[in-house]
C-alpha cells in the first residue's frame, strides 16, 4: 500500500517535471510575445512625439522633401524655436496661461475641498439635494451649454462697457474673469473630495469636537493635512485640463492680449505647411508644463484616473 503510493508519487513527480519544462518554455514564449506587443504600442505612441522633437531641431532645408533625414544635423539648432516664438507674442500667451492655470487650480482646490468636506462631514438641511444637483453637472457637456455661458459672461452688468442691465458692451468676455470664474469649482472636484472625506472615521470629528474645534478648525487642522493624495490628484487633473483647454478660450476671448498658449499654437496652422519645424518647436514648448507635472506626479495621476474614472 505504502510502496504503491510512493511509486505513484514518483510517477506524478516525473510527469509534472516534464509538464513544467514544457510549460516553462511556453510561458517564456508568452512573456517575450507580451513584451513585443507592449513595446510595439509604446513605439506607436512615441513615433509622433519623437517626430515632433526631431523636427523642431531641423532647419527649413532639412524638412524639405529632397534632403529628408530622420535626425536633425544638430540638436543645438534652436533656430526654429527662435523663429516660432517670434511669430506672435508668446511671452504674453505663456503669462496668460500660467496666470489662469495657477488661479484656477488654487481656487478649485479650496472650493472643491471645502465643498466636499461640508457634503461629507457636516449636517445641514437640504444637503443631499444640493449634492445631487451638483452631481447632475457631470452629465452636461460643455458644448450644450456654451451659448448661454457666453451670454452670461457677456451680460454681466457694469463691466466691459455694459449698463446696469448688462446691455451694450462685452461684459466679462475677453477678460481673465471669463477664463477663471466658471472653472473655480466643478461637479467632478466636489464629488472626488466628498468621496475621499467620506472614508474618514467618525471618531476623527468627535475627537476634534472634544478638543473644541468647530467645523472650520476641524477642516483646517485635521482634514487638510490628511488630504495630500486627493489634493495632488486634483491639482494634476486641473492643471492639465486648464493648461490644455482650447474650447473656452476660443469662445470667451477675442483679443491678441488675452490669447492663451493653445490659441497661439492654433494660429500657426496657416503658415504650417512651409515651416513645420517652427510649428513643431512651438508645439514642443507648449507641452513642457504638463510634461513636468506628469513626471512629478505620475503616480498620483494614474491613481487619480483609476479612482475618479471608476467612481464617476
Amino acid at each position: 500500500m505504502q510502496t504503491n503510493t510512493i511509486n505513484q508519487e514518483k510517477k506524478n513527480k516525473e510527469r509534472t517535471k516534464k509538464n513544467k519544462l514544457g510549460k516553462k518554455r511556453k510561458e517564456q514564449f508568452q512573456l517575450i510575445l507580451t513584451y513585443i506587443i507592449l513595446t510595439a504600442w509604446v513605439v506607436v505612441v512615441l513615433i509622433p512625439v519623437i517626430f515632433v522633437i526631431l523636427t523642431a531641431f531641423k532647419t527649413d532645408q532639412e524638412i524639405s522633401l529632397i534632403n529628408f533625414r530622420w535626425l536633425p544635423k544638430s540638436f543645438t539648432n534652436i533656430e526654429a524655436f527662435r523663429q516660432a516664438m517670434q511669430m506672435g507674442n508668446w511671452s504674453r500667451y505663456f503669462a496668460n496661461s500660467l496666470f489662469v492655470t495657477t488661479i484656477v487650480v488654487g481656487g478649485s482646490l479650496l472650493f472643491n475641498s471645502i465643498g466636499g468636506f461640508a457634503f461629507a462631514r457636516l449636517k445641514f438641511k437640504g444637503r443631499d439635494i444640493l449634492f445631487v444637483m451638483i452631481l447632475t453637472g457631470l452629465m452636461i457637456s460643455p458644448q450644450s451649454v456654451i451659448i448661454p455661458q457666453y451670454m452670461i459672461m457677456r451680460m454681466v452688468p457694469l463691466v466691459g462697457g455694459n449698463n446696469i442691465l448688462g446691455q451694450g458692451g462685452t461684459g466679462l468676455l475677453d477678460t481673465y474673469w471669463s477664463l477663471i470664474v466658471p472653472f473655480m469649482a466643478g461637479s467632478f472636484g466636489v464629488f472626488l473630495c466628498k468621496q475621499f472625506y467620506s472614508t474618514f472615521p467618525r471618531s476623527l470629528d468627535d475627537a476634534a469636537k472634544i478638543d473644541g474645534c468647530g467645523p472650520i478648525k476641524t477642516y483646517v487642522y485635521i482634514y487638510v493635512p490628511l488630504s495630500k493624495t486627493i489634493l495632488a490628484t486634483l491639482t494634476i487633473f486641473k492643471t492639465v485640463a486648464t493648461w490644455n483647454d482650447f474650447f473656452y478660450p476660443l469662445i470667451f476671448t477675442t483679443s491678441e492680449k488675452m490669447k492663451t498658449v493653445q490659441l497661439g499654437l492654433q494660429m500657426f496652422k496657416g503658415s504650417a505647411a512651409t515651416h513645420y519645424n517652427w510649428l513643431m518647436a512651438a508645439t514642443l514648448i507648449s507641452v513642457i508644463p504638463t510634461i513636468i507635472v506628469y513626471i512629478f506626479a505620475q503616480k498620483y495621476f494614474v491613481q487619480g484616473v483609476v479612482s475618479s474614472g471608476m467612481k464617476n
Binding site: 507580451t34 513584451y35 507592449l38 504600442w41 509604446v42 505612441v45 509622433p48 512625439v49 517626430f51 515632433v52 524638412i63 529628408f68 472650493f111 471645502i114 465643498g115 461640508a118 457636516l122 449636517k123 445641514f124 444637503r127 444637483m133 451638483i134 447632475t136 453637472g137 457637456s141 458644448q143 451649454v145 451659448i147 448661454p148 451670454m151 452670461i152 466658471p182 473655480m184 469649482a185 461637479s187 466636489v190 468647530g214 467645523p215 492639465v240 493648461w243 490644455n244 483647454d245 482650447f246 492654433q266 504650417a272 513643431m280 508645439t283 507648449s286 507641452v287 504638463t290 510634461i291 506628469y294 505620475q298 495621476f301 494614474v302 484616473v305 474614472g309 471608476m310 467612481k311 464617476n312
Partner: protein
C-alpha cells in the same frame, strides 16, 4: 437644550457657506445655462434680437443637410473609434496585468497622449498626415503605396481623425481596464486552475464577466466623449473637405459663434444634451455594478 439647538444652527450655516462657491458656480454656469439653452432653442436669437419661433428650429434641424451630416459623421466617428479603442485598451491591460518588469514605465508611456492638449496633438498629426512631407506617406512610399490624401480627401478625412483619437484613447482605457482587472480576486483564477481551466477558458468565464461593469462604464464614457468630438475636427480639418468631418459639436460651434445663429445653435445643443443625458441615464440604470465593483 437651548444651547444645543443654537449650536446645530451654527453648524448648518457654516455648511451652507462651505458649499456656496461650488453651488453658485454650478447654478450660474450649468443649471441656468441648461434652462436658458432650452428656452433659446425656441427663438431666432442672433445676438441682436430674439423672436419666439416655436418648434421652427427643431423642424429645420431635420431638413438641414449639414446638421444631419454632422450627426451622421458623429455616429461614424463613434463607430470607428469606440470598438478599436476599447479592444486595444483591454488587450494591453491584460498583457500589463501579468508579472512584468517595467510595468510602471509601460503604463506611464501608454497614458502619455492624454496629457497633451488636443491642439498640440492635432499639430503633430497635421504634420504626420501631410500628403508630401508627412512620415506616414513617406513610409508608405517605401512600399510603393500612396501618396494617401489623409486629411484632404473626403473619403479618408474622418478615418484620419479617428486614428488620432484612437491613439489618444487607448492609454486611457488601458488604465481603467487595469484597475478593473486588479479588482478581480486572484482566488477565482486559482479555483479555476484547480478545476482544470486553461487560459482561454479563464478569460471567457472569469475575466469577461468580472470585468463587465468596467467595460460598460468605458463604453458609456466612450459614447459621451465621441458625441463631444470637437477640438481635433476644428483644428485638423475644420469640418472639411466637403463637410466630411463636420460633427454635432462642430455644427453648434459654427452656427453659434461663426454665423451667430444662437437660437438655431441652441436647438442643436439641446439635441446633444438629450443624447448625452440618455446615454448617462442608461448607464445609471444598467451600470450600477460599476460603482460597487470599484469600491
Amino acid at each position: 437644550m437651548k444651547t444645543k439647538k443654537k449650536k446645530n444652527l451654527e453648524k448648518q450655516n457654516i455648511g451652507y457657506l462651505l458649499v456656496a462657491p461650488s453651488f453658485l458656480i454650478y447654478l450660474l454656469f450649468i443649471m441656468i445655462p441648461v434652462v436658458w439653452s432650452v428656452a433659446m432653442s425656441f427663438t431666432d436669437y442672433n445676438l441682436v434680437e430674439a423672436n419666439f419661433v416655436g418648434f421652427k428650429n427643431y423642424i429645420n434641424l431635420f431638413q438641414d443637410d449639414l446638421f444631419v451630416k454632422g450627426f451622421m459623421n458623429t455616429l461614424r466617428y463613434s463607430a470607428m473609434t469606440i470598438v478599436p479603442t476599447m479592444a486595444l485598451g483591454l488587450g494591453l491591460a491584460m498583457l500589463l496585468n501579468k508579472k512584468l518588469k517595467g510595468k510602471g514605465l509601460y503604463r506611464t508611456w501608454f497614458y502619455l497622449p492624454n496629457i497633451f492638449s488636443m491642439v498640440a496633438i492635432s499639430m503633430a498629426w497635421i504634420y504626420l498626415y501631410d500628403t508630401r512631407a508627412g512620415i506616414l506617406n513617406m513610409a508608405l512610399r517605401k512600399f510603393g503605396i500612396g501618396p494617401v490624401q489623409w486629411v484632404s480627401s473626403p473619403g479618408m478625412a474622418m478615418i484620419s481623425i479617428a486614428i488620432m483619437s484612437i491613439w489618444i484613447g487607448v492609454g486611457y482605457n488601458m488604465v481603467l481596464n487595469l484597475a478593473g482587472l486588479q479588482s478581480i480576486p486572484e482566488y477565482l483564477y486559482e479555483a479555476a486552475s484547480i478545476d482544470g481551466a486553461h487560459g482561454w477558458q479563464k478569460f471567457i468565464y472569469i475575466t469577461i464577466p468580472m470585468l463587465a461593469p468596467t467595460t460598460f462604464f468605458i463604453f458609456v464614457m466612450a459614447c459621451i466623449r465621441s458625441f463631444q468630438v470637437f477640438g481635433q475636427v476644428l483644428i485638423v480639418t475644420n469640418g472639411g473637405p466637403v463637410n466630411s468631418t463636420t460633427t454635432l459639436a462642430h455644427q453648434i460651434y459654427l452656427n453659434g459663434f461663426e454665423y451667430y445663429k444662437m437660437g438655431y445653435a441652441s436647438s442643436q445643443a439641446v439635441v446633444l444634451l438629450v443624447v448625452i443625458l440618455t446615454i448617462t441615464l442608461v448607464n445609471m440604470r444598467y451600470g450600477k455594478g460599476g460603482e460597487t465593483d470599484a469600491n
